[in-house]
C-alpha cells in the first residue's frame, strides 16, 4: 500500500496492521518519541503467571483496567514438516526461553513497555505420547453454536504481544522473527525463528478514539463510530465488575498450576446496519438491555456506568424476549456467572485485518469449559425459545452483526514452563 502513494502519516496509523521493517521504520522515524522504558535486570521480579498483567496496567477513575492500545497475535508452528515422534529438544527450549527473556530485559512489564504471553494448542501437545493432566481443560477448537461454522485454528503456538507503543510491538515482532539483533538497546540472545515458523499474524487495537480513526475499512460506515469509543461497536466494555479476576482464571493445581487457558476467536463485524438502521436506543437495547434504553441509563459510550455494565439490574432476558421482543448482550452475559462472579477475563480488541472491521475476542478462563459455558449463554437460544419475536440472531443481542471466522484454544503455562512445555 505504501508504494501506491499513501502518505507516511496515514501509513503510520496502520503500522501495526501492516507490520514488517518498513512499518517499524515509519514508527521509529520520529524525533519526538519518548524513550521506551526498559525491563529489569533481575527477571525473577516478574510475575510467575504469564497473564498477570493487571498490576502493570493503568486503571480509570472507576477502577476499570485499561488494556494496552496495540495488540499482535503471532501464530507459529513447531517443525511443521516433521512426522510423528518429533518433539522439542532442551536446546530448542533454551532458545525460545532466551528469546522471551531478551524481550523482558528490553521492555518494562507494562503498557508503556511490552506485555506478552505464549500459549500452546492441543495440537502442539498431541505430538507427545503423554497426555495433558486432568487439571488442564484444553479441547481442540470447535463451533460453539449451531449457527456458526468457524475454521478451527490449529497452530502450535500463539504469542500475544500488547503495548501502548506501536514501535515496541513492531520491534519485538521483528526480533522474534530473527530480523533484529537488538531491541530497545538490548541484545536479543535468541530468536523464535530458529525453532518456530510464523504462519499468521493478526493485529488490533483498543482505546478511546482508535476505532473512529480507523473507520476506513469495510464493515463500518465512515464517520459513524463515536469519536471517544474504545471499540468499533461504540460502547465501553471490560467493566471491572463484569471481568473475572486473574486469580479466578488461574489453574490452581497440577504441573501447570499458575497458568490459564486462552480462547481467541476471529470475528468479522457487519456494522453498517448497526449504525445506519438501528437507532441509538435500539443499539443500547441490543448491547445492554431494553431497560437501559428505556430509562436512558447509558450516556455516550457508557463511561457513566462506572465499574459495571449494570446488566444485573435488567429484567431476566427471557422476560424481555417476550415483552420487548429484544434481548441485550450484557443481559445474557449475567447468566454466565458462578456464585455471582464472572468466570471469564476479556482482553479483546478491534481489528482492521483483511481491511475489514473485525474483533479478536481474546478471553482467559480457568478452563476452556468456562468459555464454552459463557458462549452458550451468549447464544441466547433460551431467548429464542421463549419468544417468537427473538430469532437465532435477530434481536438476540449483537449476534446479527458478527460472523465468527476462526476459533482457537491455548494453554498459557506458568512463566517457568512457557518454553515448549512437555504435557506433564
Amino acid at each position: 500500500m505504501v508504494e501506491r502513494g499513501i502518505s507516511r502519516r496515514s501509513f503510520a496509523k496502520a503500522a501495526v496492521a501492516i507490520g514488517g521493517a518498513s512499518a517499524l521504520a515509519a514508527c521509529l522515524d520520529r524525533s519526538d518519541a519518548d524513550p521506551i522504558p526498559s525491563g529489569p535486570d533481575d527477571l525473577s521480579t516478574l510475575p510467575r503467571r504469564q497473564h498477570a498483567w493487571n498490576e502493570s496496567l493503568p486503571t480509570d477513575e472507576h477502577g476499570n483496567v485499561r488494556t494496552p492500545a496495540h495488540h499482535l497475535l503471532l501464530y507459529q508452528q513447531y517443525d511443521e514438516t516433521a512426522t510423528t515422534g518429533s518433539t522439542p529438544t532442551d536446546e530448542e527450549r533454551d532458545t525460545v526461553e532466551e528469546a522471551f527473556r531478551s524481550l523482558e530485559r528490553a521492555y518494562e512489564h507494562s503498557n508503556d513497555g511490552l506485555l506478552f504471553t505464549v500459549g500452546y494448542s492441543r495440537r502442539y501437545f498431541d505430538r507427545y505420547d503423554d497426555s495433558l493432566p486432568g487439571s488442564v481443560d484444553l479441547p481442540r477448537p470447535e463451533a460453539l453454536a449451531s449457527f456458526e461454522d468457524p475454521e478451527p485454528d490449529e497452530f502450535d503456538v500463539v504469542v500475544h504481544l500488547a503495548s501502548d507503543r506501536a514501535d515496541a510491538l513492531l520491534e519485538a515482532e521483528e526480533a522474534l522473527r530473527g530480523n533484529r539483533e537488538t531491541v530497545n538497546d538490548e541484545t536479543m540472545s535468541a530468536a523464535l525463528a530458529d525453532v518456530l515458523q510464523v504462519r499468521e499474524r493478526r493485529t488490533g487495537f483498543i482505546g478511546e478514539g482508535m476505532p473512529a480513526e480507523r473507520d476506513d475499512v469495510d464493515g463500518v460506515p465512515d464517520g459513524a463510530v463515536p469519536e471517544d469509543a474504545p471499540l468499533y461497536m461504540g460502547f465501553k466494555s471490560g467493566f471491572r465488575a463484569n471481568q473475572a479476576t486473574e486469580e479466578r482464571v488461574t489453574i490452581g493445581e497440577g504441573p501447570f498450576e499458575g497458568g490459564t487457558t486462552q480462547h481467541v476467536s476471529k470475528i468479522r463485524l457487519h456494522l453498517d446496519q448497526w449504525y445506519e438502521q438501528d437507532s441509538r436506543s435500539q443499539r443500547v437495547s441490543k448491547m445492554f438491555c431494553p431497560a437501559h434504553a428505556q430509562q436512558d441509563r447509558v450516556e455516550g459510550v457508557g463511561a457513566n456506568l462506572g465499574d459495571a455494565s449494570g446488566a444485573s439490574a435488567c429484567p431476566a432476558h427471557t422476560t424481555d424476549a417476550r415483552e420487548n421482543g429484544v434481548v441485550g448482550h450484557a443481559q445474557k452475559n449475567t447468566a454466565a456467572r458462578e456464585n455471582g462472579s464472572p468466570i471469564m477475563l476479556r482482553r479483546d480488541f478491534s481489528s482492521t485485518d483483511d481491511d475489514r472491521a473485525g474483533l479478536h475476542f481474546l478471553a482467559l478462563q480457568h478452563e476452556i469449559g468456562d468459555f464454552v459455558k459463557t458462549r452458550e449463554a451468549m447464544n441466547g437460544s433460551d431467548a429464542n425459545d421463549a419468544s417468537g419475536s427473538v430469532g437465532t440472531r435477530h434481536n438476540n443481542g449483537i449476534l446479527q452483526y458478527m460472523t465468527v471466522l476462526r476459533r482457537g484454544n491455548y494453554l498459557l503455562p506458568p512463566r517457568d514452563k512457557r518454553a515448549l512445555p512437555r504435557p506433564g
Binding site: R9, K13, F147, D216, H270, Q273, P290, G325, G391, H394
Partner: protein
Amino acid sequence: MAATEWLLCVQPGFRVMNRRTFIRVGAVGAAGGLAGCGELFAQRSTARIPPVLDDRPDGVYRPTHIEGMEMIGTQTVGDRTVGLFYSFPHRFWTVSGETNLAEIQDAQTVHLMAAMWDRETDTVIPVLRQPLFSVSQDGDVIDEKRAWPMLSQNMGFHFGENIELDGDGTYTVEVEVPSVDIETVGAFDGRFQTTHTATFTFEYADSEREDISFEEFPDTAGERAAADPMAMMDMPLSFAPPREELPGSPVTVGSVGDAKFVATVADGTLIVSPRTPYNRYAIPGFPLSATVESGGFDDTLTDAIGPSLGAHYRAALDGEPERGDTVTVTVDGPNSLSRHEGYETAFLEGGSVSTTL
C-alpha cells in the same frame, strides 16, 4: 503511564485517503471516477420517493408508493429454492422493542430481496433466521450483511436489505440458506436442517434499474387498505390459509394491533394463525401466549411453520376442549419483523382477544 502514548503511531483527525476507496480505485484503475455517476443516479431515483405521511393510522395503511422489482434468478439448493430480486433502495423500518426508520443511505444502489420456499410444496419458509448476503465483484467482497426478515404489502414475507454496488457491472451474490431451527410441521417436518449457499451472478445496470415500475398513490395513501400482492409466476407468496381451510373448527378470535388471529384445535393441538388484514399474509415474529378455559391451558405458544399453515403458533393441549370453551390469545410484545411502508405502524401493540370455540 501516559494514557496517550499510543498516539505515537496515530495521527488524530487525519484522513488522506479512504482505504476502501483506495482499494476500489486501484481495482478499476482509470475508470475509478465513474463510481460517482452511479451514486448520482441512485440519488436521482430516491429523490422522487414521497415523504412519509404525517398522519399515519395505528394499523395497516396504503403506502405512498409501491416499487416493482426485477428478478435476478432462482436457484435450488438442497431442499429449498431461493429467488433473488432487486429494486430501488427502500426506506423501511426495523423493530427492536421500538420502531426505527432506516433511511436510504446515499451510497446504497439497490434493495436486494431473497425469497425462500420449499422445492417440493412450493410454499414459502417464513422464519426469522437471517441469511447473510455477500456481494462481490471480481472476487472482492464489496458488501456483506445479514438481511432483515421483512414484510411488505406487495411481496409478503422476504429477506431484504439495501446494498451498495459500484455502478454498472457483473456482480456475484451469495445468499446463505440457513438451517431452520424452529418447529416444522406437516410436510415440513424434520426438513431444512442443512445450511446451503445459493450463488447468483448478474449484470447490473443503473439504466435497467430505472425501468423498474414505480407507482404512487397520491389519492389513497394513508387509507386503511393495502396495496395488492404482486402476481409473479415464479414465486409463491407467504399467504396464511383462509380460515375455512384450517383443520378442526376454526374461529376468528379477533384483532390485536391490526393483525387478525384465527385459532383452531386439531389433534389435541391449539393452532393460532395470525394474518395481515386485506392481503392475508401469515405473520411470523410474534411473542404469543394463550389460554383455553376448560383444559386449564395457560402458556406461551411455540412459533412453527408448515406448508399449509405457513407461519403459525401452537401448543399441545392436555385434553380436547369442549364446544363453547373460551380461548384467549395474548400478544405479549411487539412483532419483530422489519416493515416496508404501510406495515410499520401495525403489529406493535400488545393485548388479548377471546372467543368461544
